[in-house]
């Protein structure tokens, strides 16, 4: 496998209305890393994610995926390498049945016949959703929709998985299942979330965004130990490493 670096270099994005959503963001994520991008609402997380597969292009600075810069000329390659799972699965499951939806990406890549079938089934198997193949998306529960949406992205065999708020709106059981699933993936994973306990479970590294800038970048344990930093960025420690709600003592 090639080295699928994700590099942002002095990335700036200014929306047409003048909002400076990203203001000089730089980082390098190496192959197989699992990285969380956290920050308050409006800190620039979603804008950043949309740059990773070229839905948005930088106003200045650059994004490189495995040494290929993200530009209009390289979009085809970039979108095959970077799979983006949207926050709201309803926006992503646009085909009438799950099987068709999972097949959408591979078909665009030129798959057909038994090869396509195998590709779709493999993706569904990875998220434990083969039984959902012939269901229409509106008949699925939140957790099932999420899994189907992830399968739709996996079917394109991306090297890098980017997920926007994967656990939002899931019940505890579905959330736990999803965490197990994400931990098993071998891809480079980039996740944004407000679910900091999930982040603590899934990611070794955390990048904290504040007002479009990187406020901190380091190992999850170190970032989550820094209460001052988290508070300043409108975040808090994962509940698990906060004190016991009854006696106030630290969990051991």
């Amino acid at each position: 496998m090639s080295h699928h670096l994700v590099e942002a270099d002095q990335l700036v994005h200014v929306y047409p209305d003048g909002t400076r959503a990203l203001d000089g963001v730089s980082f390098t994520i190496t192959h197989g890393e699992s990285v969380a991008i956290i920050g308050a609402n409006g800190a620039g997380k979603s804008t950043l994610l949309l740059h990773l597969n070229g839905v948005l292009l930088p106003s200045s600075g650059s994004v490189r995926i495995g040494h290929t810069p993200v530009t209009t000329a390289t979009l085809g390659h970039i979108r095959r390498t970077v799979g983006l799972v949207f926050q709201n699965p309803d926006d992503q499951l646009f085909m009438p049945i799950v099987r068709e939806d999972v097949a959408f990406g591979p078909r665009n890549l030129g798959f057909s016949g038994p090869e396509l079938e195998r590709c779709v089934m493999d993706a569904l198997r990875q998220v434990d959703a083969i039984h959902l193949a012939d269901k229409p998306p509106y008949n699925l529960s939140g957790g099932e929709k999420k899994r189907a949406a992830i399968a739709a992205v996996l079917a394109m065999s991306p090297d890098i998985l980017v997920m926007d708020e994967p656990t939002s709106g899931l019940d505890p059981h579905a959330r736990r299942q999803l965490i197990g699933l994400i931990r098993e993936f071998q891809h480079t994973r980039i996740i944004t979330s407000h679910d900091l306990d999930m982040v603590y479970d899934v990611c070794q590294r955390v990048i904290v965004l504040k007002d479009g800038r990187v406020a901190a970048d380091g190992p999850a344990a170190a970032i989550f130990a820094d209460k001052g930093l988290l508070e300043e960025c409108r975040l808090e420690q994962p509940l698990r490493i906060q004190g016991c709600p009854v006696c106030g003592g630290r969990p051991c």
Binding site: F86, D90, D91, R107, N108
Partner: protein, 271 residues
């Protein structure tokens, strides 16, 4: 009047029906679409005062419903729900066309009433046929069939997306309407202003959603054309037989005046 939510749930049932298995369900979607279209054209093509000659055409929806095992009561409810719009179309006829056309016992019946009744009959038949088509084929197969029959791709995509997001939009509209109701404290003041705001809000939300969906499509390699389904099955003998049979029946019904033939025959038998 059933609420928006129940209407939408009911539409979903049409999708569920389409996933059943019956001789009619197994037919090629193109065959069913063509036959239904010809049926509709035949029914609509009669002169405006015709009623009796149209009635024999009901054999088509009746036959298909029974062979496909569709719940007749459900279909009837669906047709009834749409019928008011059909009545609306013909509503002015009795007012404009007052010339007495026929005598029903002692009661003179004007041409307007006859033509309105004719419109209602045609409406019932064509709407029933359309529901049966969707209920035995499913929207996906139907749009694919339309595409393969040469309907421009862009229309097929629109149809597909409309069908997919009708439910999502319906749910959103339902939530917004409930939120408004909860804060209007039972007052009957349903002003145009608040309705307009609600509809405008829905439009903006739909717009945003459309943009997100498009982004999702781009992310998965969409480049302007929906990928081919790869289904290149040819029409089977049974499909051709289905088409030929029904087209023949429609042709015979359209060319002859069946009630006009049967009526005197029945009279002759009883006299």
């Amino acid at each position: 009047m059933p609420s928006l939510a129940t209407t939408i749930l009911d539409l979903r049932q049409l999708d569920t029906l389409a996933r059943q298995n019956s001789p009619v369900h197994r037919l090629d979607a193109r065959a069913k679409t063509v036959v239904t279209l010809i049926f509709i054209i035949c029914v609509v093509s009669y002169p405006k005062y015709d009623i009796a000659v149209i009635l024999p055409f009901s054999i088509f929806p009746i036959c298909l419903t029974t062979t496909a095992g569709l719940p007749a009561a459900y279909l009837a409810r669906k047709v009834l729900a749409v019928l008011p719009f059909v009545v609306l179309v013909g509503l002015c006829n009795p007012l404009i066309d007052r010339e007495t056309l026929l005598q029903f016992g002692q009661i003179p019946v004007s041409g307007g009433w006859v033509s309105m009744f004719s419109i209602v009959i045609r409406g019932t038949l064509t709407i029933a046929a359309a529901f049966i088509l969707v209920g035995t084929t499913g929207m996906t197969a139907m749009t694919a069939a339309l595409g393969r029959m040469g309907v421009p791709r862009i229309f097929c995509q629109q149809l597909l997306f409309m069908h997919r997001y009708l439910f999502v939009l319906g749910e959103e509209a339902g939530r917004a309407a409930r939120a408004r109701e909860l804060r209007s404290f039972g007052s009957r003041d349903r002003s145009i202003a608040s309705a307009a705001a609600l509809i405008g809000h829905l439009l903006l939300r739909t717009w945003q959603r459309a943009e997100r969906i498009y982004t999702a499509m781009l992310s998965r390699g969409y480049a302007g054309a929906m990928p081919e389904s790869g289904d290149h099955a040819r029409l089977a003998a049974v499909d051709l037989a289905f088409m030929a049979g029904w087209i023949l029946i429609f042709a015979v019904l359209r060319m002859t005046h069946l009630p006009g033939l049967i009526g005197p025959a029945v009279k002759a038998v009883f006299s």
